[in-house]
Structure formats: structure tokens, C-alpha cells
Amino acid sequence: MTAVTAETQEANEAYEAAFDAAVAADERIEPRDWMPEAYRATLVRQIAQHAHSEIIGMQPEANWITRAPSLRRKAILMAKVQDEAGHGLYLYSAAETLGTGRDELLDKLHTGRQKYSSIFNYPTLTWADVGAIGWLVDGAAITNQVPLCRCSYGPYARAMVRICKEESFHQRQGYESLLALSRGTPEQHAMAQDAVNRWWWPSLMMFGPPDDESAHSAQSMAWKIKRHSNDELRQRFVDICVPQAETLGLTLPDPDLRWNEERGHYDFGPIDWTEFWEVLKGNGPCNEQRITQRRRAHEEGAWVREAAAAYAAKHGEATA
């Protein structure tokens, strides 16, 4: 017994060394490679949370599909919400390569055991919110996601390449839509400003807690799942947004926002982390509503999924 254990341990150490070497050499880890259990668990948690965010994120925008104010905007919005479903599917597939099926992940979402991005617990109250989500929320997401295209786990990195490519239109359409509102009637301009006022701070929170309070950051950086720290990405996002807001003719709701010559960055005011943690805990304006709708769609769809499976079984086409 002891001999076997020693042998296994030796083998594991060899595997671990090979894994560490691959990560250090910026090689990709692929599904069937040996990987530390904690690496696998971290990836499943992160990819699942990302996938959940895509599909929960459909809701606030889908809220405006039936009220889109022009047919052009309606087509754009439908295509965007559709992309989000598609991106959820790419990501669930990536998680599945780690041995965790979509059904299991959805179940964890539906029972609150896995999270999605807190930003989607805010309501879309006017049409301008759709534009603000495109510009700020998708903008923040892209800032977060572009480095993930180089993530050490191959399937996740490849899904992100596809997603980033497809999402480039999401942010632009939002910006264009806000620009049209800002340059439109006084009522439209006010609508756009109001939306930016409400979405700015939650967008900054999307990068996660400050580096010194971030639970998983250090290990994820070491594994090259994550490439930049939360604060680094947040700063990058602020620097990008300030001039964009100027072109829009809209202001960002932060009196402390100003260029810092010395740092070469914009300084910005303190973020209300109490709100962040409260929304994360479930006390945001829409937490209950979002998860209820998701659960209902899943439950009401059960008979459809069962029917297709039964048909396949009857006609001998099912595999598995």
C-alpha cells in the first residue's frame, strides 16, 4: 500500500511539474491534460459565472425588444440579445470540457449556489438604459474579457476569442444609440444622461472588489487564468470612458473625476462597496426577479426538452 501511494504521489508531482511548466511557458492547458483540482474548480466556477451572466444578462435588454423605438434598433437589439444566448452556450460548452455538465451548472444558478455578474440585478427603466448597457456594461465586460483570450485554459480562451469578436458590435451599437439620444430632443438627451448616471458606478463595480480584498485574484494570476488585477482593469476602463463621454456630450456622475498628470491616469471618486456587497448578497433591485424568470423559463420548458428526448429515444436517434 505504502509503495503504491508513494508511486502515485511521485506521478502526481511529475504531472504537477509538467502543468506548472506548461503554464510558465504560456502554453495552453487542454481538457484531458492533468491539472490541479483547485485549478479545475476555479475555472468551472469562473466560466459558469460568466455563462450565467450572459444568459441572465439577456433579461434587462430583452425587456426593451418589444418597445424598441425604430425597426432598425429593434433588429440590432434582437441580434444582440441573441448573441448573449449564443455566448452563454459557448461558455457552458467550455465548462463542460472540465467535466461539469450544463444541467448541473444551471441547477446551481437556479438554486443560488453559483453567481452571475451583479450588474444584471439593476433594472432597465428607459430606452436609454439599453444604450448605456451597450456602452458601459459591455465596455467594462470587453475590458475584462480581452485578456481572457490569452487565458491558460484552451477551451475558455478560444470561447473568449469568439465572444470578443462578436461583441465588438455590442459596445458600438450602444454608443451610437446614446449618441443619437444625446444629440436628439431635450427629453432624449435627459434620458441618456439619466441612464449614464445610473449605470456608471455599477459598471465600475463590474471589475470586482479592490485588489487587496479580492479573494481569488492572486492564485488566478499565478495560473494565468487572470492576466491583470481588478484595479488595473478598472483604471483602464475609466481612462477609456472619459473622452468617450465628452464626445457623447454627456457627463459621468463623479465630481472627483480628473486627469492626474503625474500618474498618467484619471483619478476617480470612491466606489460604494457596501452597495456592491449588498447587491451580491441578493439585495439588489432585481435579484429575485431575474432568477425567478430564469427558473420559470427552465421549468416551463421541461416538457419540451422531455418531448424531444422521448422522440429521439423512440426513433433511435439518440446517442449517449
Binding site: 430583452a62 425597426l71 432598425r72 434582437m78 416551463e300 422531455e306 418531448a307 422521448a310 422522440y311
Partner: protein
């Protein structure tokens, strides 16, 4: 554009616009994620068709957002609420079969006002029909529950299918032949799906007419109220 061409473009355009809107209501509610993507594809194809057709008549947004309910010329079938997934699929099967047969004929005319649009659209709607057919088979011949739901949906929407073959002014089509082809095609799918072909009447009993005359069902008014509200709240605004 002659007025009969306008009338035909409005009828076909409103069909596509309204059904696209209904399918858009599914976003975030579909029974499985793959269907989110599929239903949105169909909705986007239809919206694309609607925009081409309405633009033949005038400004697409004025037509979509500023007409009153009585001015819409879509058939009542497409405005029917989504109901459960079986209702949505039955509605799509009935309508896409009609659209495929109609656009096939319009494309074949080669030089008619609608030939170009129809040639492109017929490929899109062939896929819509296929999607509806695949699901009709699976729901009809799936579980006892899905069979019952599909049967009920097919029966409930049956009385809206006669209107599809009311001649549309401006379209040079043999409507009786179209109807016979439609019936044959739908019957074949339903039989394969083990669904008895409904035997009720295929038109309503109201002599005033139906959707093509601008007479709609009650839920259509609420659909339009939702669709038009924002646009109408900001007269003259651009988006």
C-alpha cells in the same frame, strides 16, 4: 408604386412585422438556450422582410409605429399570442408553410414587384418551416403531455388558417391551388407527428372580415400599444 402593389406590400409586410414581434417576446423565456438562438434567427429574418416590404410603401417606422390598429393588414394568425411553445410552433408551421408556398410562386414570376424579395425570402422561410416541422414532429410524437399540448395548439389555431388564402390584391397567385398545396403539406406533417388534422372551420364566422380588412383580435391592440408607445411618446424624434 401602384396602390395595389402598396396594398400587397403592406399585407405581407405587416404579417412579417407582427410575427417577428411575437417571436421577439420569447427572448429570455425559451424552453432551452438553443431555442433562444433559433427563435431569434426566425424573428430577425421576418423583421428584415418586413423592413423591405414596408419601405416599398413608405417610411418603415411611420408605418410600423404610427398606424392605428385598424390600418394594419396582417392576417390574424400572426398576431395570436405566443401561448406555450406548442402554440408558437403550430402558428409557425401554419404560417411558414404558407409563406414558403407563396414566396416560391412570387419568386417564380421572375419580374414581378416582389420577385427579388421573394427569391431571397423563400430560402429563409424554408428554414423556418423546417424548424417548425422538426418541432411539430417532436412535440406531437414525444411524450403524452407534449402530444396533447401540440394537438390542442393545432386545433386552436386552425380557425385562423382560412384567412391566409383570401386573395391579396396586387399578387398574381392562384390562391385555390396555393391553399390545396398548403393543406397537403400541413396534413403530411401533422400525420407524421401523429396529430389528427383538426376538422373545425378554418375561418371565423364574422362577415365583416378579418386581418386583411383591418379587423383584428383583442390582444393585437395591446401588442401595438406596447410596440408603439415609446416611439409615439417622442413625436418627430430620431433614434
Amino acid at each position: 408604386m401602384t396602390s395595389t402593389v402598396n396594398a400587397a406590400a403592406l399585407a405581407l409586410g405587416d404579417d412579417a412585422l407582427v410575427l417577428s414581434h411575437r417571436l421577439g417576446e420569447w427572448a429570455g423565456h425559451a424552453p432551452v438556450l438553443e431555442e433562444e438562438v433559433a427563435l431569434a434567427n426566425i424573428a430577425l429574418d421576418l423583421l428584415g422582410q418586413a423592413r423591405v416590404l414596408l419601405s416599398m410603401v413608405g417610411d418603415e417606422d411611420e408605418l410600423a409605429y404610427l398606424r392605428e390598429e385598424r390600418a394594419f393588414r396582417n392576417v390574424q394568425l400572426v398576431e395570436q399570442p405566443n401561448g406555450d411553445f406548442a402554440h408558437t410552433i403550430a402558428r409557425q408551421l401554419y404560417f411558414s408553410t404558407y409563406q414558403r408556398l407563396l414566396y416560391g410562386r412570387l419568386a417564380a414570376t421572375g419580374d414581378g414587384d416582389f420577385a427579388g424579395l421573394a427569391a431571397k425570402a423563400v430560402k429563409e422561410v424554408a428554414y423556418h418551416q423546417d424548424h417548425a416541422e422538426q418541432w411539430t414532429l417532436r412535440l406531437g410524437d414525444g411524450t403524452a403531455e407534449s402530444h396533447e399540448r401540440m394537438r390542442r395548439a393545432c386545433a386552436a389555431l386552425w380557425r385562423f388558417t382560412g384567412e391566409l388564402f383570401q386573395p391579396v390584391e396586387g399578387l398574381d397567385v392562384d390562391w385555390r391551388e396555393l391553399e390545396a398545396d398548403w393543406l397537403a403539406s400541413v396534413t403530411a406533417v401533422l400525420e407524421r407527428a401523429t396529430i389528427t388534422v383538426p376538422d373545425g372551420p378554418r375561418t371565423g364566422a364574422w362577415s365583416a372580415g378579418a386581418g386583411r380588412q383591418g379587423l383584428h383580435t383583442e390582444s393585437f391592440g395591446r401588442m401595438l400599444a406596447e410596440m408603439q408607445h415609446l416611439h409615439r411618446s417622442h413625436p418627430g424624434a430620431t433614434w
